[in-house]
């Protein structure tokens, strides 16, 4: 019997995994279609896709190496050349192609911001859900600590950690995670507070299930939509923080290209060669705007009535 295989296979069988994957794929396509129905989604998604391509393959697609000092035919350095046929976005004070540097610079930025955000979401979820589930004084203490963390302006907080520990990539990831955690913890806590009063959680308690089982198996799946929205919102904040750290010289260290650092270095040429600063600034801005628009699209789509096949 077809159903028997499916029910009995609470473990892994290739057919079950295959079915689950197809199911997820169809669900994903359906969700995508809904997102593309919203204006924000239609604008945001292509922007994010372009950034995704650059993130994955930016340094291969780049016309020049991001470190090469380009020389003109007469052997002079092509310093601060404006946008031209050879250098679409011009060159910087060392004659490096800005387009190539912008394209290569996104990898470290997004990787750092993204992994920091993911780590922060994970930490925030555990703290928020655990705190809400335990309740009583645990909840009080944990949430007051989170409030304390949250009362620091996030950039100041980041600066504090980095200047104490040094600008190592791992520390930056950790910083982003720490800055992200309290906000996520708040949101997950309030979602959990509602869910834990639900009757299915109470019946799990009556079965004598352990707290981790209830949190991860019963409550967590129901918070995934909240978590998804939180992820995209926090991602754009994190990008901003990492870029700001770079701008202040505490980000990824040279010679790796970093958008924040590029903006900061381009500042001195703002009147004579504005492209040096404007190109990476535009890149950061479009990434953040794109992510925000996409978030908005997803949020609108999730409020739409779901389509049911006739």
């Amino acid at each position: 019997m077809a159903t028997e295989g499916y029910i009995a296979g609470s473990g892994f069988s290739p057919r079950r995994v295959g079915a689950a994957l197809t199911h997820t794929w169809h669900k994903g396509l359906g969700a995508l279609r809904l997102v593309l129905r919203t204006t924000s989604g239609r604008i945001g998604l292509p922007i994010v896709l372009v950034h995704a391509v650059i993130f994955v393959a930016g340094s291969w697609l780049a016309p020049y190496s991001f470190t090469s000092f380009n020389l003109a035919e007469d052997g002079t350095l092509e310093q601060l050349v404006g946008p031209s046929r050879h250098f679409l976005l011009g060159t910087d004070q060392f004659g490096r192609d800005i387009l190539s540097r912008v394209m290569s610079g996104s990898t470290s930025l997004i990787a750092v911001a993204g992994s920091g955000t993911l780590l922060g979401i994970a930490m925030g979820s555990i703290v928020g859900m655990g705190s809400a589930y335990m309740g009583k004084w645990v909840d009080e203490v944990v949430m007051r600590i989170m409030d304390g963390l949250m009362s620091f302006p996030s950039l100041l907080m980041a600066l504090l950690v980095i200047s104490a520990l040094g600008p190592n990539v791992l520390y930056i990831v950790a910083t982003v995670a720490i800055v992200t955690t309290p906000g996520v913890a708040r949101v997950m806590r309030s979602a959990t507070l509602t869910l834990k009063e639900q009757e299915f959680v109470q019946s799990a308690r009556l079965r004598g299930e352990s707290a981790p089982y209830i949190i991860f198996r019963e409550i967590l799946p129901n918070t995934l939509p909240v978590m998804g929205v939180e992820l995209t919102v926090r991602l754009s904040y994190s990008i901003l923080i990492v870029a700001s750290l770079g701008f202040l010289g505490l980000g990824v260290q040279p010679p790796s290209p970093d958008w924040g650092l590029m903006i900061s270095q381009g500042r001195q040429f703002l009147s004579s060669a504005p492209w040096v600063a404007l190109a990476p600034a535009g890149a950061v801005a479009s990434l953040i705007v794109g992510v925000n628009l996409l978030t908005d699209g997803i949020r609108q789509a999730s409020n739409m009535p779901r389509e049911v096949a006739p």
């Binding site: 009757e199 299915f200 109470q202 019946s203 004598g208 739409m304 049911v308 006739p310």
Partner: protein, 694 residues
């Protein structure tokens, strides 16, 4: 009566003929109303009844001309001869409030929470009737008086949250009556209220019918309520009006098998005989609104009388004489017996049984004493005392029913028994063994022995997990079965609760409320429990489904000898399932004992009031007189005298009720029957006999 009005007016107030309403939604096409015809005359109350999903509320909204733009409306809907479906929004706005008014189910959402209640009505009067401010205020007070709100002069100064549910609903009715509308639509106006409050609102509706000339459409799923207020009744099924008749004819001689079925699904509130009649249930569920109308009778799949003709031909509406019509080929053959109601129910032995669970002086308080200025000042705010020394016992294989209004401590009692809410004092004994008060301190066998089913079937299954999860986990936790064995057992359980095993893989969202509640029962039955606590477990279900679940519980109890604690606000249902009854009021036991002793005289004045308030699905039932004003007190204050003295309709002269806690009296029929009241039992019996006869 209707004849006279017809002569005066010439045409009925509302005439709906062959109305069809179709919603086009992203979820697909919903045929909310397929073919509905009804008429409302001035000065009469038309009851509209049916299960959920039959199109009652859509019919009410259509009468208001209140349907969204993407809706297709066919047929005609005349209000005083004018077609509502063809009116412009501006014309409709002139009707709303002034000519047609509506009272919704939830009064809390119908009132603006940021405004005092009086000015909300003043505003309406100033706008529609161009009254001056002081005239409007005067009129508002008159309206408050006419809906019998206590303190009509000052109650308008309150905000909605400062009023009880019953007061709010009265204010909403006052608002609806403000412009003396010609048509008043009431959509389940008492569904969210306690029985005692419901009874007072129904009295008001009956009274309004005599005083105002308006036609009233009263929508309800509760046949008892309809029997109390309606002059004529229209029954809807799957978007069709299937029967229309004067109220007495409909209840005495239904001419459509669906109506007959609905009537036999409702347990009679009090029956003095020991053996109640077995409830019949309508199998299956309502014909889904997503399917197109078939060339057949839509009720045929569930009908016990269905013939070949019913499956191939659409029945017309037949005239059964005397203003009675039914959409059934065989209307002449419909009698109560078609649903098999003649069977008498097997009642268990009435002898003494060992108690499974004994609760001794259970106490539970919520909150702490609080000081006036946080850390300083006098102690001013005492905790809420939800249970104050409550004793009860559940006999082996018996059902203990717990009744009371909301706020009386029923749910707290249930949660204390299962251990979700640890008690602050008292003792729970499960089969001669003391049980810890919190669920996490109980042993696995104790947890397996006491299981619970919750009120809301939607929330009792995890929406993100397939329904097998709840059952399999219970089996794994309690029965210690391996995966294959527990799956095997889960399938048996599903069949035992009347569901196909193939449903195990579905998410709960694909199941109906009744099916979800059966799954919850299967999970509770999984580990052969000693005691199942059912907290309003059938209250959210339609009557036909409710009867299915009640019969299922009954059968399961007969087969396995499980004991039940059955909590409900519906006295009819409690009477049907219970062997013993516990009446709670404000965390105190008012009365307890064997069901027939508790429900018969002499009973505690509170029990008497509850019985008096319960709506009876019989238009000829003798009218009852005892009404309880107000609501259960907050239980923060310790009662000096009797806990019920503040609302007691039989309070004694002198101050004994206010100063001395009531003695415990033992009833004449059974030594287990106890009544906490100052009035001697002989006197109570005499009072109650007089009360019901006059």
């Amino acid at each position: 009566m209707t004849e006279d009005v017809n002569l005066n007016g010439g045409q009925p107030l509302v005439e709906m003929s062959h109305l069809a309403v179709t919603f086009y939604t992203p979820r697909g096409t919903v045929r909310a109303i397929r073919d509905a015809s009804l008429r409302i005359e001035r000065g009469e109350v038309v009851g509209l009844v049916g299960e959920s999903g039959c199109g009652k509320s859509t019919a009410a909204l259509a009468l208001m001309g209140y349907l969204p733009g993407t809706t297709k409306v066919e047929g005609s809907l005349l209000f005083e001869g004018q077609e509502i479906n063809e009116m412009s929004p501006a014309e409709l706005r002139k009707l709303w409030g002034k000519r047609i008014a509506m009272v919704y189910q939830d009064p809390a959402t119908a009132l603006n929470p940021t405004m005092r209640v009086g000015p909300q009505i003043d505003e309406l009067l100033q706008h529609h009737l161009q009254l001056s401010k002081s005239e409007a205020q005067q009129k508002t007070i008159e309206l408050f008086t006419s809906v019998k709100l206590a303190d009509p002069d000052t109650i308008g100064n309150r905000y909605p949250h400062q009023m009880s549910g019953g007061q709010q609903q009265r204010a909403v009715i006052a608002m609806a009556l403000a412009c003396e509308p010609d048509l008043l639509i009431m959509d389940e106006p008492t569904t969210g209220l306690d029985v005692t409050t419901e009874a007072t609102i129904l009295d008001l509706v009956v009274d309004l019918k005599d005083r105002f000339k308006a036609g009233i459409l009263y929508v309800s799923h509760n046949l008892g309520v309809i029997a109390r207020v309606a002059d004529r009744v229209v029954v809807m099924y799957a978007g069709q009006t299937i029967e229309e008749a004067p109220v007495r004819d409909l209840f005495k001689a239904p001419r459509h098998p669906y109506t007959a079925g609905l009537l036999s699904c409702v347990p009679a509130p009090v029956s003095t005989e020991n053996s109640a009649v077995q409830l019949s249930s309508i199998p299956g569920s309502v014909f889904p609104a997503s399917l197109p109308t078939e060339e057949a009778c839509l009720f045929a799949p569930r009908c016990p009388m269905a013939q070949e003709r019913c499956r191939t031909e659409v029945p017309a509406v037949f005239d059964a004489g005397g203003d009675h019509s039914a959409r059934c080929f065989f209307w002449g053959d419909v009698r109560p017996g078609i649903w098999g109601t003649d069977e008498l129910r097997q009642e268990g032995e009435r002898g003494e049984v060992e108690p499974v669970l004994t609760a001794t002086s259970l106490r539970k308080r919520y909150g702490h004493w609080e000081r006036k200025y946080l850390f300083f000042g006098p102690w001013v705010r005492p905790p809420v005392r939800a249970l104050t020394g409550v004793d009860f016992a559940v006999g082996s294989g018996r059902t203990l029913g717990i009744v009371g209004e909301s706020g009386s401590g029923k749910t707290t009692a249930a949660r204390v028994v299962v251990g979700l809410v640890p008690s602050d004092g008292g003792q729970l004994t499960l089969q001669d063994e003391e049980m810890p008060s919190a669920v996490q301190d109980r042993s696995r066998s104790q947890r397996a022995a006491v299981r619970m089913v919750f009120q809301n079937p939607k929330a009792s299954l995890n929406p993100k997990l397939p329904i097998r999860h709840a059952i399999l986990r219970a089996l794994r936790k309690f029965a210690g079965l391996n995966r294959r064995e527990s799956l095997e057992r889960a399938r048996e359980l599903m069949e035992a609760v009347g569901l196909g095993p193939e449903l195990l893989d579905r998410p709960p969202t694909e199941l109906s409320g009744g099916q979800q509640q059966r799954v919850a029962l299967a999970g509770a039955f999984a580990a052969n429990p000693e005691l199942v606590v059912l907290d309003e477990a059938v209250s959210a279900l339609d009557v036909s489904v409710q009867a299915q679940v009640l019969n299922l519980l009954d059968r399961h109890q007969d087969e396995t000898g499980t004991s039940h604690i059955f909590i409900s606000h519906d006295l009819g249902v409690v009477r049907y399932v219970s062997d013993d009854i516990l009446v709670l009021y404000a965390g105190h036991v008012a009365e307890s004992g064997p069901a027939e002793s508790v429900l018969n005289s002499p009973s505690h004045p509170y029990t008497e009031a509850l019985l008096s308030a319960a709506p009876v699905p019989d238009p000829d039932a003798p009218p009852t007189h005892i009404r309880l004003p107000g609501a259960v007190p907050t239980m923060r204050e310790r009662f000096q005298g009797c806990f019920f003295a503040g609302r007691c309709p039989r309070k004694l002269d002198g101050d004994i009720c206010d100063t001395t806690p009531p003695p415990v009296r033992t009833g004449p029929r059974s030594s287990k029957h106890v009544i906490h009241c100052h009035i001697p039992l002989e006197e109570l019996t005499a009072l109650q006999r007089n009360g019901t006869s006059t």
